[in-house]
């Protein structure tokens, strides 16, 4: 028996080894294309690499990180990242859930709506950005401007005014990604068993009570999942804002990601830019970890 156990053990070990050998090429590729650049980024963030001042290059320890404390543009971008992420995620969940609840009431034609909802998601963010910039938000000829003028609200410089620009980029992100929340929540809602709601109705629970005490708790895991995924996308948003405002006017839509990009590739300060990117990475990791913990704890 002891021999037999040893045999299965070595067999299992053999199998594991074989499995690993099969996985190795994929792991290696993954290591090369994700981990290696990440390590390189981390290393760069510890160096002073400013192409404008090559004579200053060298190991700098944590200088780049220390520098952030006194950099108002960093704090501004951090604050904007927070506003941008929080507002887009909340809007997506609220609008997506409302739409899903509404569509659930429609007896026919849900399929068409689902297909239609996918369209914004499959567009490249750059295309979305350019589309909004030239067709929707342009002064005089843009759809939104035409609408506000028709409603007597006057013409506005949607992307030229600091506050409107921030609202605009939030609206664009929400427009593109709400369908994701909508589709996931719609799918979850349609799997909820009807008998519970019937029972609740018999107990004279009102519509709000049914939503608050039955629907919400039951779709909670789906909502948390949507929030996690949307947060990660919002934190790393780049292309649409880049195409629409480039972070401007001034620095009023310059979220951390754009600031890191501008620092590295426009100002050519690769070292400081890398450390900004590392901070963004840290924030994304921390937020995701928190959310996952939250999900585990309650479910």
């Amino acid at each position: 028996m002891a021999v037999a156990t040893g045999g299965t053990r070595s067999l299992a070990a053999q199998e594991r080894r074989f499995a690993f050998a099969l996985l190795a090429p994929a792991l290696l590729a993954l290591l090369l294309v994700t981990t290696a650049p990440l390590v390189y980024l981390a290393w760069n963030s510890l160096n002073r690499i400013d192409l404008g001042m090559p004579w200053m290059s060298g190991f700098a320890g944590l200088d780049n990180y220390a520098k952030m404390g006194a950099d108002p543009r960093f704090w501004n971008s951090l604050w904007l990242t927070l506003i941008y992420t929080a507002s887009t995620v909340v809007l997506q969940v609220v609008v997506g859930l409302s739409l899903a609840l509404l569509v659930l009431q429609i007896p026919k034609g849900q399929g068409v709506l689902r297909v239609g909802a996918i369209l914004p998601i499959v567009l490249a963010p750059v295309v979305v950005g350019l589309f909004w910039r030239t067709l929707v938000l342009a002064p005089d000829v843009g759809l939104v401007d035409v609408a506000t003028r028709a409603l007597g609200l006057g013409s506005h410089n949607w992307l030229g005014d600091p506050q409107l620009a921030l609202i605009s980029v939030i609206a664009i992100h929400t427009w593109q990604w709400t369908p994701f929340a909508f589709l996931v929540l719609l799918a979850t809602l349609s799997t909820l068993p009807g008998d519970i709601f019937e029972a609740a109705r018999l107990d004279r629970a009102g519509a709000w009570q049914r939503f608050r005490y039955i629907t919400l708790p039951m779709i909670r895991p789906a909502i948390v999942m949507v929030v996690i995924m949307r947060m990660m996308t919002a934190l790393s948003a780049f292309a649409a804002i880049f195409a629409v405002t480039g972070g401007g006017p001034g620095s009023s839509t310059e979220i951390l990601n754009l600031y890191a990009y501008r620092t590295s590739f426009t100002e050519l300060n690769i070292g400081y830019g890398s450390s900004l990117a590392m901070v963004l990475l840290g924030i994304t990791l921390a937020v995701s970890w928190l959310m996952f913990r939250l999900r585990k704890a309650k479910s």
Binding site: G52, M53, S155, G160, P162, G246, G248, G250, T266
Partner: protein, 471 residues
């Protein structure tokens, strides 16, 4: 590594004729429809170049890549490439990179020493950066090498001095200007004449002219200047104002951007655009401005002389024949300061010696008087270049003839500006320019959109620039 043709060439020296034929076959494939004319005219085509006392075929079989922006002045050059290839046996691949990305692409190529581009259309403000990193070769050794340059034929000194200076560091040339521009005043001569206005000679007159014509209810605005954020947009206009107000970029070795003159210049920029420009101007670059002007909604704008090409196109412009040109108006310190903008060609230091020679031959061909003429008034297509690089050509009757449709006083205004108003210290020429330009652009925009007061915006820029420059 990157030149398969040259390897073949070296391996089979006895088969030159066959290879030449192969090369010309390749040219045939590219030239296509023009083949018949090209073959006939070839010898006559190449004669003006062959009068140079250098061996154009010294590195035949080499191939190089050149990055340029998509613009008619480079398209014209691209159309003549079969002639260059017939002359030298060097293959040139032109890669078009949008202006917003060409600096980054070039910097990436230069800093990683991949040697992808033999040369590229370079922003003159980037030479300090290139030189500090030793990414490009000093060109004096190419200009001084009798086997590479025939000085009597090339006539380097005939190239406009302002642009030569802009592409040099400490007196050494690092790029040869191919095309460039000056900033001039473009105004509606018909409207000015009707109201008895004269083109402005001072900034005050510019404002009073704008005031006289400004009539927003009838979609008529007095003036427009680039307002969009960017080192090449609002930081293209502001430096001229800054210098005109008597601003100086340097206090000792430090860059200073928040002097009282700087604040006054920015206040002027903000106030003038707020009062007399279309509301969207803060998002506008020159094409938007030229479009608005050609639709007849602007009384005047100040921008590159080459933007006028849009205005004389009868298919797109409603103001053909109604356009006049004048120099930059003087600032309070009595100075006109126009841009020193030009697209020059440097040589990538990461290339092999052979490729460097090939690149130099390409540069001297492209910037020579003959090619400049052939891409301007001698060019067969509709777009005749107006940014030619040589004093003698600017003064030639053929050029005047080709440009006569542009408007009143076009050549005189541009040439006077080129000779008198150019200012090498138009912007701070330091290796950190990319960061400084970007910082200034962001601050200027926050003042233009009313997010911050001029003083506050410039103080912030100063703090950041001090941080950037800190050694």
């Amino acid at each position: 590594m990157h030149h398969p043709e040259s390897l073949t060439d070296a391996a089979q020296p006895g088969r030159r004729t066959a290879l030449k034929q192969a090369a010309s076959l390749g040219a045939v494939a590219i030239a296509g429809p023009w083949l018949a004319t090209a073959a006939h005219a070839q010898d006559a085509d190449l004669a003006p170049y062959r009068s140079a006392k250098i061996n154009w075929r010294q590195v035949e079989g080499e191939s190089i890549a050149v990055a340029v922006i998509p613009a008619s002045y480079f398209d014209n050059l691209g159309a003549l490439l079969p002639q260059f290839e017939a002359l030298t046996g060097i293959k040139v691949r032109i890669e078009k990179v949008p202006p917003g990305q060409i600096r980054q692409k070039a910097t990436l190529d230069l800093s990683s020493k991949t040697g992808t581009y033999g040369t590229h259309a370079a922003d003159p403000m980037y030479y300090p950066l290139y030189v500090a990193n030793k990414w490009v070769d000093p060109l004096d050794k190419y200009l001084g090498d009798a086997s590479l340059t025939d000085p009597a034929w090339f006539k380097y000194d005939d190239i406009l001095k302002a642009w030569r200076d802009a592409d040099s560091i400490d007196g050494k040339p690092y790029g040869i200007p191919y095309d460039g521009e000056v900033t001039v005043q473009v105004y509606r001569k018909d409207l000015y004449d009707a109201k008895g206005l004269k083109p402005a000679t001072t900034l005050d007159e510019l404002v009073s002219n704008a005031k006289a014509l400004n009539d927003p209810t009838n979609r008529m605005y007095g003036l427009a200047l680039r307002g969009f954020a960017g080192a090449g947009q609002n930081m293209y206009i502001y430096p001229s104002l800054f210098r005109g107000f008597g601003g100086k970029w340097f206090t000792g070795k430090d860059v200073t951007v928040n002097s009282p003159e700087a604040v006054r210049a920015l206040d002027w920029y903000v106030n003038t655009l707020t009062q007399y420009a279309p509301p969207a101007v803060r998002n506008w670059n020159w094409p938007d401005i030229a479009d608005a002007f050609s639709q007849g909604t602007l009384g005047c704008y100040i921008d590159a002389h080459s933007s006028a090409a849009v205005l004389s196109n009868p298919e797109k412009s409603k103001v053909v024949g109604k356009v006049g040109f004048a120099r930059w108006p003087k600032g309070p310190n009595g100075k006109c300061a126009t841009s020193i903008w030009n697209w020059g060609f440097p040589i990538n230091a990461a290339l092999s010696d052979k490729a460097k020679k090939a690149t130099w031959l390409f540069i001297s061909w492209a910037t020579s008087a003959e090619t400049q003429a052939r891409t301007s008034w001698k060019f067969a297509g509709p777009a005749k270049r107006s940014g030619i690089n040589r004093t003698s050509l600017w003064k030639s009757p053929e050029f005047a003839d080709a440009m006569k449709g542009s408007g009143d006083n076009f050549i005189a205004a541009a040439l006077e500006s080129l000779e008198q108003d150019t200012d090498v210290d138009w912007r701070p020429r330091v290796p950190q320019w990319p960061a400084i330009g970007e910082t200034m652009a962001t601050s200027i925009q926050s003042a233009l959109v009313g997010q911050k007061k001029s003083k506050e915006a410039l103080d912030e820029a100063q703090a950041r620039i001090a941080q950037i420059m800190k050694g």
